[in-house]
């Protein structure tokens, strides 16, 4: 899902992913997910492979990618940190949390820190609405986040950087 894969771009791997999925009905989203799960983003080169395989124009594929918030066309940092901006989390301090996150990381939403450890993204609801404010990193959800616990989380992500994948 949103856990960024670490694989470097490889057109052969991408081609194999596309071949495996292209005959599914409505194959484009499954293919885009599989590519992003593998390479952490959808490079322009992938669009050039997907379009002919599905008999679409590159503009059509690009149009689908750009419609959905989840898909990204730039390599993210090692960790994608998503902060819930929705109402239930607002009621539990999410506005202060997002302001703190942007200030402490020195980036706005969709930005990546200079050390490439963290890409910050907004998200609208993680379904953890009784125990906000909520943050997602990869497939982990964190509950009752405060600016302090956010800093601890980011510290732990930064020190994990050398962990063997």
């Amino acid at each position: 899902m949103s856990t960024p894969g670490s694989a470097p771009w490889d057109p052969q791997v991408a081609g194999a992913i596309i071949d495996e999925l292209k005959s599914k009905p409505g194959a484009l989203l499954p293919i885009l997910h599989a590519i992003q799960n593998r390479f952490a983003y959808i490079p322009e080169a992938a669009v050039a492979l997907i379009a002919p395989a599905l008999r679409l124009s590159r503009a059509e594929v690009h149009g689908v990618i750009s419609f959905y918030h989840h898909f990204r066309t730039q390599q993210p940092g090692r960790h994608v940190v998503e902060i819930c901006r929705a109402e239930a989390c607002q009621a539990q301090g999410a506005r202060a949390l997002e302001a703190h996150a942007k200030a402490s990381l020195g980036v706005d939403y969709h930005g990546t820190t200079a050390d490439r450890a963290v890409t910050l993204e907004p998200v609208y609801c993680l379904g953890n609405c009784s125990c906000g404010a909520s943050v997602r990193v990869g497939d982990e959800i964190y509950a009752r986040m405060t600016p302090e616990s956010f800093d601890e989380l980011v510290d732990s992500l930064r020190t994990e950087r050398l962990e063997v994948q």
Binding site: L28, L29, Y68, F71, Q90, C125, S130, A143
Partner: protein
């Protein structure tokens, strides 16, 4: 015999540390030579008590919670695994906790009771009885049962489910491909009941969809699941695999010769894809642009074929109806709102969680008798019911009964049953601005009132809040809201004004206060 203990495993319990607690208890038990059989159940969704650990005893399941890793040593010292102890986290028998005992859990009867991925558990708790009954009925009789239950779509629009099914049953010619699509794009803030079904009781959804397939003659189902729910994805896929391995899905369901296939498809972070026609476009691999209706998806749906599009909770209610009978379901509720609605109490709440109730109690009872008021103890000021497109209710409306029609009468919606509570520090001008901002971010862009209206809405609210021509701009905002209400293609643009208008009507002082502060500031400068 090893003592069986239960440690919850849904997203919120995990986010509160349930996995760490489980690992520590396992290690500790080994060290001390205590034989434990640890079952990872779903969750009871009494979230202020999570992680809620339950110990099987002859009298029932004894609870401890909320358990953190720091409590594990003292729990072992107290020998919690023997059941009842005097440990400070001891809660008594879980089923006797008033928050749970006072609920009417029909759809969520198994949540937190069973291991979500155990087919044996599911079947031991009435699972697949509904499907077995349905296999002995003809299609029309299944549709009739759902009609008789009074079940209305739980996604928010509350359209009678049986009538939708009838339309699909009657559509197309003999043998035409039809589809069952489950809308699991639960994007409303404050809602998590769909997630709970998929994480804690996935077989129930699979069974409900299979029955729907039998009812309308569809052989293929898709669950359109939002990408924000990774654990639901994992559990659904594991349960689907088990169902196939046990002839509960596939070409010959339980030897009946009936065919139903099921696949999970993942969305990609677009709120609008919770709108059924946008969802179908997305399933077809396109941008999630809303379709004009008619034609209804029931007649021209996925890939142009007749399609049932139902919310998770609607489909999840079906096994109960086919097992216990339509009347058992219809016996709950009030007026035209039959059965139960799983309410989700969220935001600034002391006792947040899932509260499944028959329609009828008041919002105030839900927020105070169950919710216990705000988490930080400040006075409650505003409540948003029904997601980001639902109205904010002031205290004067908290005695409204939880019923589709009663909410509609006060200009509000019950929607998917999400209740988001805000304390008195909330700035309702800011909340109104957010509603418009959210619409800017999530509008599919097909119709002008929604795409452009929302952007203009943010600008006008900013002008009001900064004290520019306040009266004229308030009038302009009212006018804009009317335009969006009347002119939008779907509920996204058509309902975004609900929270804005309710904020203006009942919390107008927040707009003006901010404006007068801004004016005073400007005059000083």
């Amino acid at each position: 015999m090893a003592t069986r203990i239960y440690i919850p495993s849904d997203t919120t319990a995990k986010a509160l540390g349930a996995d760490r607690v489980a690992r520590l208890i396992e290690t500790k038990a080994k060290e001390q030579g205590v034989e434990l059989n640890i079952v990872r159940n779903g969750t009871r969704a009494l979230y202020w008590l999570d992680p809620l650990i339950e110990v099987d005893t002859p009298d029932g399941r004894f609870g401890y919670g909320p358990v953190t890793v720091k409590d594990v040593d003292s729990l072992f010292e107290a020998e919690f695994f023997n059941g009842e102890t005097a440990h400070p986290l001891a809660l008594g028998l879980v089923e006797e906790i008033p928050y749970l005992k006072r609920q009417q859990r029909l759809t969520f009867a198994r949540a937190g009771v069973t291991d979500p991925l155990s087919l044996e558990d599911y079947q031991a708790h009435d699972g697949y009885k509904g499907l077995r009954n349905a296999l002995n009925l003809d299609a029309q009789s299944i549709v009739d049962a759902v009609k008789a239950s009074g079940l209305r779509g739980r996604g928010g629009a509350a359209f009678p489910t049986g009538i939708k099914w009838q339309t699909v049953l009657d559509a197309g010619s003999e043998g035409e491909q039809k589809y069952i699509v489950c809308n699991a794009d639960e994007g409303d803030s404050g809602t998590f009941a769909d997630r709970l079904v998929m994480e804690c009781d996935p077989f129930m959804l699979i069974e409900g969809m299979t029955i729907a397939g039998l009812a309308v003659g569809a052989t293929q189902g898709y669950i359109y699941l939002r990408s924000e729910y990774p654990l639901a994805d994992k559990n659904l896929n594991a349960a689907i695999e088990t169902a196939y391995a046990n002839n509960l899905l596939g070409e010959d369901i339980l030897g009946s010769g009936r065919h139903f296939d099921l696949e999970v498809r993942i969305g990609a972070g677009a709120y609008i894809c919770g709108e059924e026609t946008s969802l179908l476009e997305s399933l077809e691999g396109k941008r999630g642009l809303v379709r004009a209706k008619p034609p209804l998806p029931a007649i021209v749906g996925l890939f142009g074929q007749p399609t049932v599009v139902n919310n998770v909770l609607s489909l999840a209610a079906v096994p109960f109806i086919l097992d216990k009978g339509a009347q058992a379901y219809a016996d709950c509720g009030m007026g035209r709102s039959r059965g139960t609605l799983p309410f989700q109490v969220a935001g600034n709440v002391k006792q947040g969680g899932l509260v499944e109730l028959a329609f009828g109690p008041t919002l105030r009872e839900l927020m105070f008798e169950f919710g216990g008021g705000t988490r930080n103890g400040r006075p409650l000021r505003a409540v948003q019911v029904g997601g980001p497109l639902g109205a904010y209710l002031p205290e004067s409306q908290w005695d409204t009964p939880l019923d589709y029609e009663a909410f509609s009468k006060v200009g509000a919606v019950l929607g998917h049953g999400g209740v988001v509570m805000f304390d008195d520090t909330v700035d309702m001008g800011e909340q109104a601005r957010f509603s418009m901002e959210f619409c800017v971010a999530e509008s599919c862009g097909k119709c002008t009132p929604c795409r452009i209206g929302s952007t203009r809405g943010v600008e006008v609210i900013d002008r009001i809040r900064s004290g520019q021509n306040v009266d004229a701009n308030l009038e302009l905002l009212s006018d804009l809201c009317e335009t969006m209400l009347d002119g939008s293609l779907c509920a996204m643009g058509g309902m975004t004004p609900f929270p804005v208008q309710s904020a203006m009507k009942y919390f107008g002082e927040d707009f003006v206060k901010n404006a007068s502060d801004a004016q005073a500031l400007a005059e000083e400068a």
